[in-house]
Amino acid sequence: MAAIALFQQALWALNSAGEVVLLTLLVVRKNYRSYPAFSLYLLVDLTMGATAFFVYRLWGFDSATAYRIAWGTHGIVLFARALAVAEVCRHLLSRYRGVWALAWRILLLCAALVLCYSILAARHDWKLALLTADRGLGLSIATVIVVLLLFARYYDVKVDPVVRSLAIGFCLYSCFVVLNNTVLERWLHDYSALWNLLGMLAFLASLSIWTGALRHSQSEAQPKEILLPSGIYQAIAPEINLRLRLFNEQLTRFWKVEAGRS
C-alpha cells in the first residue's frame, strides 16, 4: 500500500510536469491561439490538481472537507474538458457549414442521451453522485468523439493530424474513466487504491499523445471553404434519394422472387 502511495505521488508529479511541458509548448509554438479551450482545460486541470494536492495535505485524505473540495474542483475540470472536446468537434467540421449544422445537433443529442442513461444506471447513492457524473460525462465524450470521427469518415472529410490526436487522446482517456469508475463502483473498497493510480496512468498516456501532436506550430487561420450555391443541394438531394429508393425497391422485389423460388 505504501509503495502504491509513493508511486501515486510520483505519477502525480510526472503528470503535472507533463502538463506544464505541454502548456509551455502551446505558448511557445503559439498553438493556444488555435486551441484556446484545450489550453484552458490543461491550465484548469493543472491548477485544480495543485489545489487538491494542498487540500489533501491540509485536511488529510479522509476528511469530508477535503473530499468536497477535491470533487468540486473536479467538476470544474470536467466542464473545461467538455469545452475542449467541443473545440475539437468545431475544428473538424465547422468549415463545412451544412454538415456542421447537422452534426452538432446530433452530437449534442448523443451526449445528452448517453448522460441520461448513465444517470439512470447509477446506484443513486449521494456519495457516488460525483463518480456517476464523472463516468456519465466520460461516456458522453467518448461517444461524441466516435460519432464525430464516423461523420468525418462518412463525408470523406480529411482529419487534420493534430485534431485526430486530440480526439484519440480524449476518447481513450474517457473510455478508461468509464471502465475505471465502473469497476470502482462495484468493488469500492478493494479497488480504491488502484483507481487513482490507473486513472493517472491513463491521463499520462493521453498527455503523451497530445504532446506529440502539438510539438510543432499550427496554422492559426483555417482556409475558408468555398461552398456551392444552396440550390444545387435542394435540387439534387431529393432526386438522388428517390433513385436510391427505387433501386432498393427493385432489389426487394428481386429478393422476394428469389425467396419464393428457393
Binding site: 468555398i226 456551392l228 438522388i240
Partner: protein
C-alpha cells in the same frame, strides 16, 4: 446492477472498436475509379453501359442449348464462368452506385445547408443497398440467383446517373460546377482517393 455493469463494459468495447474502424486508412482504389467529378465529366465510362453485352453473355437460351447438347463438364465450366462474370459485373454496378453516392456526399459537404431527413434517408438506403448486394452476391455464389435478374439493377443505376446529370445540366454551368467541385475538393481536404 450486474446488467448495468456489463452494459458499461460493452459500451466501451463498442466505442473502442468504432474508434479504430473510423480511424483506419481508406482502401486504395484506382485513381479515378470513385472520383465523382470524373463521373460527371465522362458519363460513358460506367459499367452499366456494358449491359447489352453482359445480357447477351448471360442469356438463358444459350445456356439451355448448351445444357442439352454439350457434356456435363463443359456445362459446369460454362456455368462457373457465367457466375464469375455476373459477380464481377455486380461489383462493377456497385462501384457505379458508390460513385454516385459519393457525389451526393460531396455535394452535401460543400452545401451551405443540408436536410437532416435527406441525409438520414440516404444513409439508410445506402446501407440497405449494400446489404442486399451482399445477399445477391451470396445467392450468385451458391448458384441460386438467375443471372438475367441483374439487368434490373443495372438499368436502375444508369437511369439514376442520367437523371443526376440532367438535374445538374438543368441548373446550368455543368462544366463550371464540375471544375468548382474538383478545385474545392483538392484545396480543402475532401479525400477522393
Amino acid at each position: 446492477m450486474n446488467f448495468f455493469f456489463y452494459t458499461f463494459i460493452l459500451a466501451v468495447a463498442v466505442l473502442l472498436f468504432l474508434l479504430a474502424w473510423s480511424l483506419r486508412a481508406p482502401r486504395k482504389r484506382r485513381a479515378s475509379s470513385l472520383d465523382p467529378v470524373s463521373s460527371l465529366q465522362d458519363p460513358g465510362r460506367r459499367h452499366a453501359t456494358y449491359l447489352p453485352q453482359i445480357r447477351r453473355a448471360l442469356a438463358p437460351a444459350d445456356f439451355e442449348f448448351l445444357t442439352s447438347h454439350a457434356s456435363r463438364e463443359l456445362t459446369r465450366r460454362v456455368g462457373k464462368e457465367r457466375r464469375r462474370i455476373a459477380l464481377a459485373y455486380l461489383s462493377g454496378v456497385q462501384e457505379d452506385f458508390q460513385r454516385l453516392l459519393k457525389l451526393a456526399r460531396v455535394i452535401a459537404v460543400l452545401s451551405p445547408e443540408v436536410g437532416a431527413a435527406q441525409e438520414f434517408e440516404r444513409l439508410r438506403l445506402g446501407v440497405q443497398f449494400a446489404l442486399r448486394c451482399h445477399m445477391i452476391r451470396a445467392e450468385l455464389f451458391l448458384g441460386l440467383a438467375p443471372l438475367p435478374q441483374l439487368s434490373g439493377l443495372s438499368q436502375m443505376v444508369s437511369g439514376f446517373a442520367a437523371r443526376i446529370e440532367t438535374a445538374i445540366t438543368e441548373l446550368g454551368e455543368r462544366a463550371a460546377l464540375a471544375t468548382e467541385l474538383a478545385s474545392s475538393l483538392e484545396r480543402r481536404g475532401v479525400d477522393l482517393s
